[in-house]
Symmetry: D2
Subunit: 315 residues, 4 copies
């Protein structure tokens, strides 16, 4: 079948390749002339026969919303728009409503797999009406991994359910990554485990903790056994935050996923105002030494505190 | 080669089968006559040619320690004892020292894989001297999964390193399981995701969160889509606790693994004394309603509190 | 001076008493005839001389917003509305804007102190323009505790800053309460501390943990030394949730306050879906026993699992 | 009465002053000639009439244990040793047993109050036999704050109960401090609260969060409103760690106190190995940019990653 694909960045470009390799015709649009197949969205619409299926793969938030608005004007009744980007699920109902007013269908699809998806296939979670899901099924089949459909694709529910599922997937991902990372740190901290990368590699088969993320950690450690070349600075792209916010809406306790999110926040701080406050309190009640911040006229990290004597009985 | 195997429970029995299937001779001992190959440890020793390799697979703690003490008296210089159980790594140095005094070698080996290991192979992490590791390598090769040795076996370091690695493996396992579980709960809590088991199954291939534990969750949900037949009561067998204790020794922050452990503790409480105290405090400052515990003369779960009026400004 | 006071529930009624006791004239309105001073908001406005100061003390959310809308129609340019309820700070800017269009001023004021404030005074955090703060200062002085003004009142910043400060105050409160509660539980769990209420009472003076909340815990334990009459069920009225959501906006790690919030969520669950999932996973990989939920045809809490044998090596 | 006091550091010196001010005779010993009253422990014993009460106020661990051993040789049947230091409660039973063999009594006493205790009095939690508690009561009364005895002193239980209670007290203290600190950080992160120190000071009276620790935070902020002179580096002296270890023994969930402890651990890390691992994983699956650590030949903090294109759909 034919697919219109908007956004040919790292993800979109790979997806174009994968869908084409499955034998479908893909017309891609991207503002960058060197990668686009057509010069404009209008040309993309013209290049496709009705009913058109147009997959949007651009950054979430305003870029996706404005693309949907543009498609509402360009497409025709009976066409279908799929948002495959990382939109917050709360964007889906407004997008669907706007398009519905023009007779255009809408499906939201969470896509997992990263840069490996081109070869391995992408895990897909879709939300929308059954007839829209069915219309796009050949594309879903092209994008998902080999094997039974249900192991790489789910029709999660109505519009929004796809991105909701993907949000939860990413929240889980935060927890998984942090769990491995904590174990790595503890082994690094002990003199007993002399071959930390070897132990982690030995978990690749047979163990309870084997996973694709573990395989990636093995890869990373094979290049840099102590990760000496990296800073412990971890960004986030929003889904972990949304997961916690959603949990708060539903009064669901998420101690692990929230801890993983907060560890990322903390990783980006040069100085923690909170820990300054704790240091200040310890100094106040116990005369505990504090580290003075570097100043123009002072040496960095000087320890100021009582010069001698038994400490207080507080910790 | 020959292997003496002590402990033929679920794990040990399976391991006997797997090692035999690899072509080795296994002499197993267990106090239960219906499963044992020999009537006593002494007979086990007699049935093996020197240098003997004897694998201990009995419950950790005193059962393992007393087995090692018995072997110290029965085995001969040059023999080798492997503790493959779930011992705390701090037991390994005393065990090794005791045996070393008799000229007997000692290796600790963490074993992962559960009841699936018989068919899939077991992930193995061993600690000990290189010559002892080498002596037992045919057994390790029989037990570990097919594939490159380093993907299912590691010589982690000196005595203790094997169980230390296994302890960390299990700590990570706690975090992984809790991460999936939190995601499951959040999806169950939202009306949007209509097919939670389907979404989780769709993560089986291609996604970032795919793993063996995920496959097991898919299995569990295929039988019981909402886990309605289970109580949310989760035991623990110690390794998670040891992981946190070890982290405290090394001042390593483990927010995720500790949260997973504490969630298990909480799951086993009918009533939380801590939350009673919070409820009492809210009642004290704000006149917030509290739930009265059931008593002989009262209805269970009655709500006691102010009969009307705007609440306080506290939460 | 004169004060209009809308909402004469537990908080508002007490505040009317306290402001009157300070020598001011208070005209209160409440829909309940038995407590109101005037039959309608219009009558309240008529009873006050311009410039009027009207304090709104009704439940947050729509009740407060609709009261502000009504006052926008009833009051006159130069008058001042103070929202002293527990509104989310994001409501303040829209409220202020609506009133500003009519020439009416707006101040948001966080109020802490619960049912004890009538006698002890209330801690106050106000947001708004300096001239509005000044206009209401006699009321703030009447409501706040005796002592230096700055120890019971702050002009926190512009509109919204008062409720923001109160939100953070309540978030901290969650953390404080949970910290005491955890300590209480740990002492209750140990046989060593024979007089837990006595120990907690002994913290009342001189110690680092002395506080008003501690005093309240002493009160609660004096009535019920083991809190046997309470259920460990803890509600929340929103500020803790907002605190976490705000932290997420600013990428501020709040591990303690979030843990306190999640402990409340968990306290309200009869069954934890997450812990069911963890139990299911343990059963899957290790054959660990699970507790079967009670069913129509089965006994509650039956333990199902392998009838014998050594367990797996997983926790 | 007479008191022997060993250890005249910051705490011990202040306590000597306070007990003397209450009219008792104190004979102090310290290895530092400039502060000691007697040249040796033997002289201390000689200077006191039987039955002697000797208070040990030296660093916990080996210094305290060796002092108790020395006293076992020097004191006489009927005398009493009080360990008022910050010993782990597990040291108390061995100490008591050793002394009991010589007919000497033993009491453990947790002491809270820091450098302020000299003037405010110390909160005291004692463990031991009733007759020993009674013998030392005049000293407890001298040390504790003015007011009812039960508000500053508790006989918590048998030997060990005093230090256990103090351990829990300090664990709670960690949680309280972290709760305030998180609130401080969140207000600092928002542009809305223009006067953070003012808001915190306004919590001093009337509010639910008022406490002595809050007063200390007000003090600290009055000198340095943004704590700009401090580093966010927080040490710990062990009681928080013991609290978590004890909770693990009793399967008590302590999410808040553990989070506070781990925040301290993290505050002392220049680089987090765990967060390096998370960064490595994100880079592996999504091609997310990572920060390269500074090296001899490279610029610090360079960002390495894909030069352009839409990111992956992972966070």
């Amino acid at each position: 079948m034919q697919l219109g694909l908007i956004g040919l960045g790292r993800m979109g470009g790979n997806m174009r390749d994968r869908v084409r390799a499955a034998g479908h015709e893909v017309v891609g649009f991207d503002p960058r002339p060197e990668v686009t197949d057509v010069p404009s969205l209008e040309d993309l619409a013209k290049a496709l026969s009705a009913p058109r299926v147009v997959w949007v793969m651009v950054p979430s938030g305003e870029p996706t919303r404005s693309t949907v608005r543009a498609l509402a004007d360009i497409l025709e009744p009976g066409d279908l728009v799929i948002d495959g980007g990382n939109s917050r699920y709360t964007d889906d109902a407004p997008n669907a409503e706007l398009l519905h007013g023009r007779g255009i269908g809408y499906v939201d699809c969470g896509v997992s797999g990263g840069i490996w998806g081109k070869d391995n296939g992408y895990g897909l979670m879709a939300g929308g009406a059954p007839e829209h899901i069915e219309l796009a099924m050949p594309i879903f089949d092209a994008l998902r991994p080999e094997g039974p459909r249900e192991e790489g694709f789910a029709h999660a529910g109505p519009v929004g359910a796809g991105h909701f599922s993907k949000m939860v997937h990413n929240g889980i991902e935060y927890g998984l990554m942090q769990a491995y990372a904590e174990g790595f740190e503890l082994m690094e901290a002990s003199p007993l485990v002399e071959d930390v990368p070897g132990v982690i590699q030995a978990w690749s088969r047979g163990t309870v903790v084997r996973s694709w993320l573990l395989d990636l950690l093995v890869n990373a450690l094979s290049d840099d056994p102590h990760l000496a070349d990296l800073e412990g600075y971890v960004d986030d792209s929003g889904e972990g935050r949304w997961t916690i916010e959603e949990a708060i809406q539903h009064a669901v306790p998420l101690p692990v996923i929230s801890a993983a999110l907060f560890a990322r926040f903390a990783s980006r701080q040069d100085e923690s105002p909170a820990m300054k406050a704790v240091a200040a309190l310890r100094n106040q009640f116990g005369g505990h030494a504090v580290k003075k911040a570097a100043g123009p006229a002072g040496a960095p990290g000087d320890v100021a505190g009582p010069s001698s004597g038994t400490g207080s009985t507080h910790g």
